[in-house]
Symmetry: C2
Subunit: 237 residues, 2 copies
DNA sequence: TGCGCTTTGTTCGATGCCCAACAGACCGGA
DNA sequence: TCCGGTCTGTTGGGCATCGAACAAAGCGCA
């Protein structure tokens, strides 16, 4: 039943046969509904999410209701790794950015599996490192780059996560993730549209010119990709 | 010989007797010289640093030579935890912000110890989480808060790390960490000086009014402290 | 087909920060 | 005591983004 989830999620895919067998009996399917909050900052993480499609953002809530994104994962990763490696308390909020399905494993099962397998722990830890990479690259990017560069970076990353040129997102939502005004996004987006890099209408953004977008993005996009390749490109220790 | 290092560094302090004994034979002392680079992004981490005093910044290098800080640790933490938990490759650059001493453990010894002790792994992992907390809070902060708020937050954090109101730092250096112009720091700093929150001269900043600084800082400072307290306040699993 | 809500577009003044250049002050070393 | 380099102060123009308010258009739903 969950063999197909293994081929859909990169984390499950990367596991050795024996590590996968530790988790397989405990895998369940859940729907990721848009805007659903999977866990809260300081709250308990009750399960680990292995998205099969869609996207999950990890965000920092700020006083005043604003939130800013620190990183995102889709089928290229997992969400909730700390539940397996430590206590099950979240240091951020997880929000469904684009609806989809995920395979999940309850916290008790994943902790028990992690206790048994060092290679599973390493695999989990790599995705935690990958979130750190995103968060710190965002910190640098948000401090120094323009809204246009940051928007391009973010669209490119979303495209990679969703593995589709078609991004079901509103400008309002994007603005929140970037920590800028919605009108700034509208302004920049219309420039990108005019340059034929993207097109969009009411909650649907579509990437038209991948190379062009990359040229307009800051180095942060490539920086993340190269770190991702390095981290996942080999199994460690 | 290294019993005193145990009392000086909070990580070593927090370890159980048996975990500490795993590391004790391998502890060595090193000097942390100002501006020394302990490891590079993508480079090997050859040892874990447990500062006894001074401060180490974890930074993201950007093309063009700029760097932006993602987090910092002093005797309140450790630097290089990933070396023990995964392959020994760094996802960021570690730079000595304020000179001092550190106890260090070579990568082979720490990996071997981590393989033997789950509680040691958990302890190491907590400091990795703490870096994530700093990085993602910085991402949010850099996106939405003013230079004044960010400077105050940063000074407060430095003060906590150094456990001193006296911060041996130049405005140029601070500006780099925050990802802003040096002249912006000068401008804001002189306002803080006028308000009698700080005083300074050529590379020496001194906190005069702690409460006042906290009032001028954004919520991000308190947000980090509360997460730190939560993460370290109890031993997990 | 039409209504209403959501999303996007546009204006415009305000402002915070950039950017570059230079002046002045401090401090250590000769 | 003077000199040179590092650090801080100051200027002023320019631009990106904010902030708030309102207009227009698209889409779902009845």
């Amino acid at each position: 039943m969950h063999q197909n989830s293994r081929s859909a999620n990169r984390f499950l895919q990367s596991l050795s046969h024996s590590d996968f067998e530790l988790l397989a009996p405990h895998l369940r399917s859940v729907e990721l509904r848009h805007a659903a909050v999977l866990f809260e900052t300081g709250g308990e993480i009750d399960r680990i999410y292995c998205p099969l499609n869609g996207a999950i953002s990890l965000v920092v809530p700020l006083g005043g209701g604003d939130i800013v994104e620190a990183g995102m994962f889709g089928r290229d990763g997992i969400v909730g790794a700390p539940a397996a490696l430590d206590s099950a308390t979240a240091v951020n909020q997880a929000v469904v950015q684009v609806q989809g399905q995920a395979s999940v494993v309850g916290v008790a099962a994943i902790q028990s599996a992690a206790r048994q397998s060092a290679s599973l722990r390493t695999a989990l830890y790599q995705y935690d490192q990958l979130l750190l990479v995103q968060a710190q690259q965002s910190a640098a990017c948000n401090a120094t780059h323009t809204v246009e560069e940051r928007l391009c970076r973010w669209l490119l990353r979303s495209r990679d996560v969703l593995e589709s040129d078609f991004l079901p997102l509103t400008q309002e939502f994007v603005a929140q993730m970037l920590g800028v005004r919605r009108t700034s996004v509208t302004l920049v987006a219309s420039r990108l549209k005019e340059a034929k890099l993207i097109k969009y209408r009411r909650g649907r953004i579509e990437v038209l010119d991948l190379e062009g977008l990359q040229d307009s993005a800051c180095e942060c996009y490539r920086a993340f990709k190269s770190q991702e390749a390095r981290l996942l490109g080999r199994t460690a220790v």
